[in-house]
Amino acid sequence: MAHFVQAIALGLLIGGVYALMASGLTLIFGVMRIINVAQGAFLVLVAMVTWWLWNRTGIDPIVASVVTTPMMFGFGWLSYRLLIARIRGSSPSMSVLLTFGFALVIEGVLNLTAGNKFKSAAPSYFEESFRVGAISLPKAQVFGFAAAAGVLAVLYYVLHRTWTGRAIRAATQNPSGAALVGVSAAGTGALAFAIGSATAGVGGSILSVLYPFFPASHYEWISRLLGIVVLGGLGSLPGAVTGAAILGLAETLTATYGSLGWSTLVFYLVIMAVLLVRPQGLFGARLREDAA
């Protein structure tokens, strides 16, 4: 029984972190129909900056997200204005090409500046655990989960309770309608891309503590994040959270009760099964153009 509770707890903690990492991806897709393949590279970029700050100054990696989040907001805003804005209105496949190229550039720059070596931040608590009875809750994962929950709550609040958020959601649901009532498509686009990139601030900080990384790690992360977002429904924040929880639980339960070799595969089997029944994903709304 304790073994089972342990597996569930670990799965949910991991899922929380995955949810945070996937939230930026689903937000950007929801508003602009842009699949930001560079989101994984953003995470690795932040992880590298966080590691560097931690290594030089000893500043706690999760606290460092106070610095990296605004940094990524600015980085996202600039990227949108300089790069992404040029392909607005093109098909989503253009965005895949452009952002993939962007990811390769980030990887290359990191290779040249930081070197092709594994790094991982090791603050004092990185391998300690909270004990609840027989259950171990790794501190880094608990802190990561807490930070993720905080960011997701703020994101949810912004999207649902502020004018800016409503404008972003309006642009998601009906771009021409939103434009008619005075929502600037370019403005909300830049803002949504900046917010989506900013989530990589906390996500990357947590990544630097939980997982060893190097410049090419972004491939591994983007495939996982795309899986989560597709399962949850492209563009849906609750979908990303649910998809991430399913991935976390699938990984730990399969590794505990099935075989370790299947633990990453089972998640993709779940995706296939869900997509057969619900092609739009768990929380995905069918768009009018999909039905046509």
Binding site: A7, Y211, P212, F213, E220, S223, T252, L253, S263
Partner: protein, 414 residues
């Protein structure tokens, strides 16, 4: 839907320019060859053709191999070269691509007409590259490529310049366990391994050998390379409490396992990982220096080993690159030592004589003595290394040990 735009004049002229430049380059290349061949045999340097993955997936180890070859060349040339001739390396980049490496070695042999060859990095690339060399009857000494498939083809000109292939790498650890009194041997063991050609065969072979010694297997799982979460495995291990955890760990999975074991509060009496712990500071930074104490691994080379030219190699590497030398560089250096020894013993650049000599003799290298079976598979043994007091010591085989003490059992996590 969208019409193909007509070719713009600018683009057409760019194309013409490209063709012209390519033609010019080809002509220049043609023009150089006669002047090269005009030089007399004795003054002419010995040219060794090498293709290496300097870009792409294996760029990091490939660049280390390049450093190893270059340090060897500089050392040899400083002492007057080989057979009285200076050595020149012709190194080309294969971008970690199997097709490119075949084209590279074909060109090196047939067009550049190099005198000798040295191998590339990884089994993936050496597998097709060695076939090109074999077909052209050129000796192919390769520094990294110990997958069993390499040696199942009955090649006569192939030599793997490391002490052992993957399935034999664990032997030195098994021998250490055999040397322990019955009571101190592990009773139970767990074998998680990444599905990797250099990790899995090591762990599988160790499991078979230890089971024959009566060590009970309580866990055995293979996981794919993209596995990142090891806490559920650690949780299972914590409940089964094996005396020995032997992990086929490439790198990040090894760090992830140690971190997870500590988080779940389980410290085995013995911990063996295949290659992760050989990544010096990357490993100790990842798991925390104090947690490295007592971790075992096997390795082809050690910085402190008192083997021929090792100290000189280490000094030259440090001077040239201002960093601790990497195993991949040492392996390349050893491959070059092997070729050099054979050429000097034969006294001529005669591929068949070099091949026969290598099959019949043992070469002293900075990895220790190397000798080969008919199929090019090495007959030696790896070194058993252990982290002790924040440093790496060789603890086996006994005759090559740099430390007489072996930390066993491993202390708990710090």
């Amino acid at each position: 839907m969208t019409a193909q735009p007509p070719r713009s004049p600018a683009r057409r002229s760019r194309l013409t320019l490209t063709v012209a430049v390519a033609a010019a380059l080809a002509l220049t290349a043609c023009g150089q060859r006669p002047s090269e061949t005009r030089a007399s045999e004795v003054d002419k340097p010995i040219v060794i053709g090498i293709s290496l993955p300097l870009t792409g997936d294996f760029a990091q180890p490939g660049s280390e191999a390049k450093r190893g070859y270059e340090i060897w060349r500089d050392m040899v040339n400083a002492k007057g070269g080989v057979l009285g001739r200076q050595v020149q390396l012709k190194i080309v980049d294969d971008a970690s691509n199997q097709d490119t490496v075949v084209a590279d070695y074909t060109k090196l042999i047939t067009q550049d007409k190099v005198d000798l060859l040295l191998g590339t990095f990884s089994s993936l690339l050496n597998y097709p590259a060695s076939a090109v060399a074999e077909k052209n009857r050129m000796v192919f000494v390769e520094p990294a490529g110990g997958a069993p498939d390499m040696f199942s083809r009955g090649f006569k000109y192939l030599f793997f310049a490391q002490p052992a292939t993957a399935p034999r790498q664990a032997d030195v650890f098994v021998n250490y366990i055999k040397s322990l009194p019955e009571a101190e041997r592990p009773k139970t063991a767990a074998y998680p391994s990444q599905d990797d050609p250099f990790a899995l065969p090591v762990i599988k072979s160790m499991q078979t050998q230890l089971e024959a010694l009566g060590v009970k297997t309580v866990y055995s799982e293979v996981y794919p390379a993209d596995t990142t979460n090891f806490q559920s495995v650690a949780s299972t291990l914590a409940s089964r409490k094996p005396d020995l955890v032997a992990q086929g760990a490439v790198f990040e999975d090894g760090v992830g396992m140690v971190r997870s074991l500590k988080q779940l509060g389980f410290s085995p009496k013995m911990l063996f990982q295949t290659s992760a712990p050989s990544n010096s500071s990357q490993y100790s930074d990842g798991v925390g220096l104090a947690n490295t104490e007592g971790v075992f691994y096997t390795v082809s080379w050690n910085e402190k080993a008192t083997t021929p030219l090792n100290a000189e190699f280490v000094a030259a590497y440090r001077k040239a690159h201002n960093a601790a030398p990497a195993e991949d560089a040492a392996d390349a250096f050893a491959a070059a030592q092997v070729l050099q020894a054979a050429v000097e013993a034969v006294g001529a650049i005669d591929q068949d004589k070099i091949k026969d000599w290598l099959h019949a003799n043992t070469v002293q290298t900075l990895l220790g003595p190397l000798s080969w079976k008919e199929n090019g598979e090495p007959k030696g043994s790896f070194l058993l290394a252990q982290w002790q007091g924040g440093k790496v010591e060789v603890v086996g085989p006994p005759e090559l040990a740099t430390s007489k003490t072996v930390v066993n059992p491993k202390p708990g996590w710090k």
